[in-house]
Amino acid sequence: MTAAQELEMILTQHQDINRRVESNGIRLTIPASLLPQLVSQLSPQWTFVGIVPEDDARTQSLRLLYVFYTPKGPWLGMEVRNHDQVIPSISNILFAADWQEREMEDLFDVSFAGHPQLGDFVLHDSHWPEGTAPMKRHSWEIHQKANGFEDLGTHRIVDASGSFVMPIGPVFSGTAESIQFGLETVGEEIVFAHIRPFYKYRAVEKLMRGQTPMGSLLIAERIDGLTAFSHALAMAQAWETLGDLQISPRAQLLRVFWAEIERIRSHLQVLSGILESTGLSVPQNLLQAQEEELLQISGAFSGHRYLFGLIRLGGLSRDWSAEDIQHIVKRLETLVHHSQEILDALTFDNSFLDRLEAVGTLSGERARTHGLVGPVGRASGIHRDVRIHQPYAAYDNVVFDVPVQTEGDGYARFRQLAQEMTQSIRIIQQIPSMLTPGEVVPTDKFHPALRTAFGYVESPGGSVLCAVSSNNQGMVERCRIITPGLVNWHAFPDAIRHFAFQDFPIIMATFGLSVADLDR
């Protein structure tokens, strides 16, 4: 039975559900009380993406849209109105919704009945009093505490004689991003791990409000600078759906081209991070030099080393001659070839493998519970890739495979990244011959529709969902960005449990997650 048939069957059981078909998606309006039941019925077949807040145009009140999809199928949005500020929690059914509910509670003051751990999440209680709801329509004013001191806000879970918390961060190691961990332990082994993110909370989603489409693209690029192109692409796709913009096939192909270059760069960076954490400095430096080479290619041909400012609504900000494209492809081929040589040599290095194999293992079952995305999920056997499941840009025209591992340990994640790089160069090689002349730099006028639209992109770290609704002036009314960081960091404390302290940095490196991506 397909997912769509199953949905039909479920809907026949409930007469009080209002259904609407939108562009490439189904939207249901359901009473809050029905939510847990529907979610548990849908969750085996439908993939949960996230909770998207919307403003109800008629009542001016907040409503939440629970977004699901099936591979190559339509979107499914379940609309729940937040009349009495209490919505049943679905975290007990779908653990992946845990952080999203906590975030909603902190920013929108929506209470999720049955969630055991609300409060003090995005807005640290040391700086903002509980109950501050900066994203709520009627309380845009925010009161900050005068003298707050950050602390290790962990309540103890481990009950063992002599157990203690090993605090890490927010500022730690060389050029690490700011995030805090509390590792509960009785000595060497991590018995339980707490994570305290949002030290870097810049309130991007709030900042988006009232931005022009161009402004929103610039901000989206800077959510996570290392996957800027993907984030901006997701944002642009949401706008393009809203404005019903047609993008030329050339622009679509070039978007794929640069997106894959970004993937290679990001994977190279994560791989060299893994090598750094295991202390293998020769291959690490060699890989890092390859990454620098790629940054220089990007800088020379796109104008920016991290591809900032490349995405424009309806296309890209510049075009390239066929020679340029050929030149880039040639350099990329050598670069990936050199990198693969190093990575192949690593598979013969026992001391390296010892530190990765059976370390930081997340079984397929655990990974599914957390709803993991991206290479981390695929290394645990979750075959989930938006490029195939919800094709965008020109991805349905190029040929590539999505590698999947089953072990879910550090070495599986390492192999996953290496194999994905091979597929990326494979995609890039196909593009020069497919390019047809056409307009890339857009000039169209733009009139967005007054509703919510989604842009879904497989960034190097995993799927990014960008949901945008615009207002009358064509500015952003609400924006919601569900990043791979928000999903995958949730599983990280689970992955480090029962491993030793010395494995902690290695596991963190194999996850290759960005904190900026999570904190936004």
């Binding site: 730690f172 050029t175 610039l218 800027a228 020769v282 800088g299 400012g309």
Partner: protein, 239 residues
């Protein structure tokens, strides 16, 4: 042993050559002062970095994010674009002479998007080989001479930044890296920011850019160490 051989057989990464021009991808470049534009600057620049100064349109580099919007305008509104990387501005004296060959840096991420941090990290790659200048990143501010702050200083990180500064021994210098740390950049109006950095700590050296490329950072650190401009050892960098 394997890696020793591999390191030796890939020596091309350490070849020295003159710093090339144009800087093929080593730096994004930035808008240069241009005769006045036709259009009002605030309609062109998303961060209000363009300022009229006499009959010249100048650029407030603490706000510029290299979005190239001003460069992609029609001719009469186009700002000219300059190559280069020697962007750092020092506002206090360089460190004493004893720091000439040794500088320890603590980097604190205060809401950075990751690009500035990665450029800093990239300095350690063989291409830039930061260590040849005696510069090293330290894990604790107790050992650091220089505090490098990236990102727009979020409220939650403000205290950590202050703690790091107080934990450092004198003499010490504070370097604001990137447009976010200097002005807040695109995030300037966010409620969750305590920055820019100059509201929190005395900034001794500012490195504008979004992100400032590794060469600009190297130039900045060499300024702190008191190297004369002709000695700038960026020519060791390979492209």
């Amino acid at each position: 042993m394997l890696w020793l051989r591999m390191g030796l057989t890939h020596p091309k990464k350490t070849v020295s050559s003159k710093a090339p021009s144009p800087l093929n991808g080593l730096s994004p470049g930035r808008p240069a002062p241009t005769p006045l534009l036709d259009a009002p600057p605030e309609t062109i620049c998303p961060t209000q970095a363009l300022k009229e100064h006499g009959n010249v349109m100048t650029v407030d580099y603490t706000r510029c994010i290299h979005c190239r919007l001003c460069h992609q305008q029609p001719d009469q509104n186009r700002m000219s674009w300059e190559e280069g990387y020697q962007w750092a501005q020092m506002t206090s004296p360089r460190l004493p002479h004893s720091f000439r060959h040794s500088l320890h840096i603590r980097v604190v991420d205060a809401g950075d998007c990751g690009a500035c941090l990665n450029e800093l990290h990239q300095l350690a790659s063989p291409v830039y080989s930061l260590h040849r200048l005696g510069i090293a990143f330290t894990p604790t501010p107790r050992d650091a001479d220089v505090l490098v702050i990236t990102g727009p200083i979020t409220v939650s990180m403000k205290e950590a930044v202050q703690e790091a500064y107080q934990a450092m021994p004198s003499p010490k210098r504070v370097v604001a890296v990137g447009t976010c740390a200097l002005s807040g950049g695109l995030f300037a109006s966010s409620f969750a920011l305590a920055g820019p950095l100059e509201k929190i700590l005395p900034v001794d050296l500012s490195v504008p850019g979004c992100p400032p490329p590794p060469l600009a950072l190297l130039h900045a650190f060499q300024l702190l160490m008191g190297a004369k401009s002709e000695e700038m050892r960026t020519q060791g960098v390979r492209t």
